[in-house]
């Protein structure tokens, strides 16, 4: 972390929250593009990004620089916010998806970007979900190898725990095995 970033964090933790603006300016575009790639919907992206930065602002007192860089911490909040978004996503389409707001600055550009991302995702679909995540984080998000390991390590650990529990459940419940076989076959 740069010394200016560390100082901004320390100042925020001392109660001088105006320095959060320094952190915001540094990361807003990165976090915005991180979320947009995964959500591919402008309004939802804005909601999630707002959520990420408000959470970071509210919880910055608990951030410990000895355990991770601020970047890693912020990306993890963003990653989990996206996952929460998909968990809570409703299948019906919101009227906001259909209307063009007056303040939209560049509708054509946004649509063009969404179409391009849809195309990219078709190529990405040829890879496993984990591989997609690795490729996206390295190429689109431009995270370093170490940052990717750190951001994913926690998530992978939790995911592997879930898989282990699923397998245990399958072994104990023969009916579940049959159901899964019917699904895949």
């Amino acid at each position: 972390m740069e010394a200016s970033e560390i100082q901004a964090i320390l100042n925020c933790q001392s109660g001088n929250l105006k320095d959060f603006g320094i952190l915001y300016d540094k990361y807003i575009e990165k976090i915005y593009s991180f979320v947009f790639f995964r959500v591919n919907h402008k309004e939802s992206t804005q909601d999630i990004v707002s959520d990420v930065f408000f959470k970071a602002l509210n919880k910055i007192n608990r951030f410990d620089m000895n355990k991770a860089s601020f970047s890693t911490w912020l990306y993890s909040i963003a990653r989990n916010s996206v996952i929460d978004y998909y968990r809570g996503k409703k299948s019906d389409i919101s009227i906001d998806d259909l209307t063009v707001k007056a303040e939209d600055s560049d509708v054509e550009s946004e649509i063009d970007c969404r179409l391009k991302l849809d195309e990219i995702k078709k190529y990405l679909d040829e890879f496993s979900p984990l591989q997609q995540e690795i490729i996206t984080m390295r190429i689109w998000d431009e995270l370093s190898y170490k940052e990717i390991k750190q951001v994913m390590n926690m998530s992978e650990g939790a995911l592997k725990m879930t898989v282990a529990r699923i397998l245990k459940k399958i072994r104990k419940d023969p009916k579940l095995v049959n159901s899964l076989l019917c699904f895949f076959l």
């Binding site: 402008k42 919880k59 410990d64 355990k67 391009k116 984990l130 926690m154």
Partner: protein
Amino acid sequence: MNNNINKLLQDIYKLDPELKSRENELIALIGKIKDTKNKFKPDTNFVHRLRNELMSAPERDKKENFINNYINMKKYIFGGAVAFVCLLLFAVVYYPLVSKNNGDQASLNLDLGKMNIESVDNFGLLSLSRASSDSNIELSKAMGLGESAGLGSAVSSDGSADSFLVMPAPAPYSYVYMGDDFEKPNEKGNVYKRVIPADVSKQFASFIKNINLGLVDLKNFNNVGLQNLTLVEDNDFGLIININLNSAEVSIYQNWDKWPKTETNLSITDIPKDDVVIAIANNFLSKYGIDNGNYGSPVVNNQWREYYIMNDGQGQSYVPDTMQVVYPLLVEGLSVYDQGGQPVGLNVLVNVLHKKVAGVNGLRASNYQSASYELISDVEELIAEAENGGFGNSYKQNNDNEIKVELGKPKVGLVKLYNYKNGQQEEMLVPSLIFDILDKPDGYYGRQKVIVLLVKEMEREQPMPMIEPAILR
């Protein structure tokens, strides 16, 4: 091939070697992503609007702000300082700047390194709970992620790590005590409450006011205190020393600009033995005059190894480049633990790649009030509570397929918890029994220790029912 693309590919292969066989697809994909990324920009109206909203957000809830809480607490005058750090500070920073009278040198000796305990009548009915940041550490360790595995705690979408990427299902474990008989605890024991010497910040401020910045006359400001002081070492492997005078705490971090930015994929054989890591930590403390007299024998936090073993050979094992050495805090002969049963105290982070200390935290003034409370002395009652999961036990479902986990003979210690009172959180040390888990079953992901609080009269945190995630229903 373009060097940049080659570097990107090499990084991707390090993360997943299987992708090597799909290099042509990756190269095409990289081109498409880069092309789209170059044209992508966030909505500037949104960016400005959000910034304004964040900057005008209401002041944070002071219940969340430990620093502000301590300012409002009763003031107790203690003499002392983090002697060496303060002397170093004044020798390096203040001495050349502070004006001298008749050749006398300005100095401030606060002697905060000494532990002070003052007896008081009582703290009232205790309303104890975990602080979510500490509970995250416990949960993170319970999940085998360890503190040195990257983030050190599972960070959730709200940044506080109260929940995980995937919410854990109710623990399928039941506990059975298999240890030897143990003596019943005393009928009474001390509970400790941490207090902060409030005038330390003002004593520092009185020095600062003598500095002539040439911009403003600091002497004209009244009743000021210095909250934070940061020193930055400007040399290779330099460190940043932050002195928080509100919480009377010193933290040391890497000055990242001065450390090599090498990314190395460590293997487990690269990690030195514990005694080597501890020696590096001990040498650092000795060199910088950090008194570890209030702490017990150091131990290396090796919890990351459990996670490594679980994932070994699957290409996802992570070997951290920083090891944590913990010097457990001792208060009147008892070790202090967190809610997960892990030792709490002075932490020294050792970068094993460069064999240097990369950080220190938990170095703080140890001033406490103590009050006597009645303790649970019925051994059968204590064992029953342990077998029920102890403090903060998970919501249990009726499950005939629970896996039995054996508990060993407990040790007595102090567990760090928070007493919520009058809108503030007070840091407390509560006498407790800490039970070890014996012979963890394969794939065990439950708690690492079971804690049973010994204090009789208190409101206890209610365990939250866990909602089974949809994926497991």
